[in-house]
């Protein structure tokens, strides 16, 4: 009772503001504190629930929904480039049967790419969330139709001419030029931009969800600390007011809240980190490497076009050079100088371009070694290129064609090493998504259960004291 008098209880007119709202009796104060505990508990559970939902949504969108779909549309670019590459190969091979590949092989691969490109385009169109993106997807579809018409026309004309391996007739070349220009100037840019747009969608989700999870974590800590403070206040009040030792039920509730808040915080921080890993170490690299592969494949096809269409050899050599530089950039004035620089470039030398960005990524087991193998493969691919151009320059186009279609295995090995590097990032991505899904599993049961337990404990702690007033 002395405690009550310590807090001076002035006459009613003196009580102003918040104080006026405070209950006057001890029982009233206990009830008010208990009610505040329940409200704070509800707030803690609500913000934790919301943060867990944000984390789950982020993991779902990046791991199962838009993320994989965007990667699939990224492959659209590769399939389109490869269609044009296979068309060029088919036209260059002619009726030759003694090379590494036959015309029918190239046409079969063309058809397979066409089917996959169609499916990827559908996915991309489904992902489009703005009018301009839908329009791009529609333009792509109609452009693909035009490309196919030109391609079959070129193949038909070429069949009628039935030539040996090497450049086809002028009329075939003229049709092929139309087809490849359509592909290069119209279809490929649109396919690439569409993937960029789709990637934006994933980036926005990622940034939204990740900052929501982090803000949610702060809210969990804040409401958790408030709840703890109220529980401690209640404990102190009961101890002092009723001259008791520790109230065991309240103490247990307090411990439970400490545990819950701590666990929630650790779990949410972990989820935010897994989202980051999935997006930055997984998704970003997978997409970038898919582009690297497509651009490399297209550069490889520029070698074919260089042999196929001597009238445009300069242009095709120049685009080979600029594509090579976008993959692995080293300062060089021309292709020959670039080739020298690539051969001289040591394993840990600095370079820019797609592979340069990949070299800047760290902390993924095995990535360094896998990237080193990619660079070695790239060097071999460029060495093949040097030889091919030297043969052509020396007037030995026939041997260059044979080398391009038969012996030169550099590109295949390089391409395979890129696929292996991408697979490493895919593993990181899959692990992060799986951990993300496991990390918040059963929380939808755990949270209400913990909440119920705290309420029961608080009631158990408070009821006997309130009973003293009955």
């Amino acid at each position: 009772m002395t405690v009550m008098q310590q807090a001076p209880a002035p006459p009613a007119p003196g009580r102003r503001g918040v104080r006026r709202a405070l209950p006057r009796t001890a029982a009233g104060r206990v009830r008010a504190l208990a009610a505040a505990v329940v409200v704070a508990l509800a707030a803690t559970l609500a913000v934790t629930w919301a943060a867990v939902a944000d984390a789950r949504d982020g993991v779902r969108v990046i791991g199962r929904d838009a993320g994989p779909q965007v990667v699939a549309t990224g492959d659209l670019y590769f399939q389109l480039t490869d269609m044009d590459a296979q068309l060029a190969s088919a036209l260059l091979i002619g009726r030759a049967e003694d090379l590494g590949v036959r015309r029918a092989d190239a046409i079969a691969r063309y058809d397979a790419n066409r089917a996959r490109a169609g499916a990827a385009l559908l996915t991309a169109a489904r992902l489009a969330d703005e009018r301009s993106e839908e329009e791009t997807a529609r333009d792509l579809l109609s452009g693909l139709g035009r490309y196919e018409r030109l391609a079959s026309q070129a193949l038909l004309l070429d069949q009628q001419d039935a030539h040996a391996a090497g450049p086809p007739s002028a009329r075939v070349t003229a049709v092929y030029r139309q087809a490849t220009d359509l592909m290069k100037l119209d279809l490929l840019p649109k396919a690439y931009n569409l993937t960029l747009d789709n990637g934006t969608l994933v980036r926005h989700t990622y940034e939204d969800r990740r900052s929501a999870v982090r803000a949610g974590t702060v809210a969990v800590v804040v409401t958790g600390v408030l709840l703890l403070a109220l529980l401690v206040a209640l404990q102190v009040f009961l101890t002092v007011r009723f001259r008791r030792l520790l109230n065991p039920a309240l103490a247990l509730a307090t411990l439970l809240v400490v545990g819950l808040t701590g666990l929630s915080t650790v779990m949410l921080l972990g989820q935010a980190e897994r989202l980051r890993t999935a997006k930055e170490d997984g998704f970003d690299s997978i997409l970038a490497l898919s582009r690297t592969r497509a651009i490399s494949n297209s550069a490889y096809a520029d070698q074919t076009r260089y042999l196929l269409d001597p009238g445009r050899a300069d242009t095709y050599e120049q685009v080979f050079f600029s594509k090579s530089q976008s993959v692995l950039y080293l300062r060089a004035g021309n292709l020959a100088a670039y080739n020298d620089a690539v051969q001289r470039q040591s394993g840990n030398g600095r370079y820019l371009g797609f592979l340069g960005v990949e070299a800047g990524r760290q902390g993924i087991p095995g990535q360094r070694a896998a990237l080193a193998r990619v660079v070695v493969g790239y060097r071999a691919f460029q060495a093949d290129d040097r030889r091919l151009r030297q043969l052509t320059g020396a007037g030995e186009r026939g041997r260059a064609v044979a080398a391009r279609l038969g012996e030169a295995r550099g590109f295949a090995a390089y391409d395979a090493s890129l696929v292996r590097l991408a697979a490493l990032h895919q593993d990181v991505f899959d692990d992060a998504i799986r951990d993300g899904e496991d990390g918040s599993r059963y929380w939808e049961y755990g949270l209400p259960a913990a909440g119920l337990a705290v309420i029961v404990l608080v009631l158990l702690g408070v009821r006997p004291r309130l009973a003293e007033y009955r």
Partner: protein, 280 residues
């Protein structure tokens, strides 16, 4: 009971709430061009056809593209200010924030990408060749062997023909491409080689003034992706500019501008959207 406990609690709560609010604000990007209602855009001032300043006004393809981008970003025409820049100053002007965007036949290169970000390209120009119309001997870059070719010190165009392509052309030096044009018309040299849009601008200028008619060879020997320079951290702005460029091509505005500025001189322009660099 100590009455100050609720107060302390309130103080803790308030501090925590402030902390949470602070985190929320940190996520927003106040510096993005998407949030501005006026823009300063860096352009060239001495390139006919692309961006030429006469008196206080700028005219040309780059200038029109810049205006369209600003309009599509929601900035009124009278809120757009053009600022002359040079190749020596453009990166500093952008990083210091003196200009918001650069639209100035600014080729995207991996080295430049380490300092600034690029939206676009809004057009992929190609190095090409300009000759007198009567001269039919030049059909591709190899035909420049032994010809008198304009060399502008500091420009990469001449070495691209002689060193990169290994074509032994004779050098005739001039100050800037306007100087090259005068010498080409005066018969002091045979060919000028640089970006096709610059050549087309020069040819259009020459046609306006009369004199010897000129011809663009249409034999491209390089890709020059003209990007829109933007601050490196403004990813949202970069995406918005890309969207503006996309719609500019979709609704035919870009094709119309290309034909207006470069069509009359026989340059084959590409009227489909270029492949973007990407913003991240």
């Amino acid at each position: 009971m100590n009455p100050s406990i609720p107060r302390r609690l309130a103080a803790v709560l308030a501090a925590a709430a402030l902390g949470a609010a602070g985190c929320g604000i940190a996520g927003a990007d106040a510096a993005s061009v998407t949030g501005k209602d006026e823009l300063v855009i860096g352009v060239n001032r001495d390139q006919p056809g692309l961006a030429l300043r006469t008196g206080g006004t700028y005219a040309g393809f780059d200038v029109e593209i810049a205006k369209e981008i600003a309009r599509r970003l929601g900035v009124a025409a009278d809120r757009v200010r053009f600022e002359p820049i040079t190749s020596a100053t453009r990166e500093d002007r952008l990083t210091s924030g003196a200009v918001d965007l650069i639209v100035a036949s600014y080729s995207i290169t991996p080295e430049r990408k380490t300092r600034v970000a690029f939206a676009g390209p809004y057009y992929v120009a190609h190095q090409d060749i300009l000759v007198r119309r009567a001269d039919t001997s030049v059909r591709n870059v190899r035909d420049l062997r032994g010809k008198r070719l304009c060399e502008v010190p500091g420009s990469v165009s001449f070495p691209r023909v002689t060193r990169e392509r290994g074509v032994a052309a004779q050098s005739v030096k001039a100050d800037g491409y306007a100087g090259c044009l005068a010498k080409l018309q005066g018969g002091e040299l045979d060919a000028v080689s640089t970006d096709d849009l610059i050549l087309a601008g020069l040819a259009a200028e020459a046609a306006k003034k009369g004199g010897e008619p000129l011809r663009i060879v249409n034999a491209p020997i390089s890709d020059e992706p003209y990007g829109v320079g933007i601050a490196r951290d403004d990813v949202a702005g970069c995406e918005a500019v890309n969207k503006a460029i996309t719609t500019m091509y979709q609704d035919g505005t870009a094709a119309k501008l290309l034909r207006t500025w470069f069509g009359p001189v026989g340059l084959k322009v590409t009227t489909t959207v270029p492949q973007f660099e990407g913003c991240d």
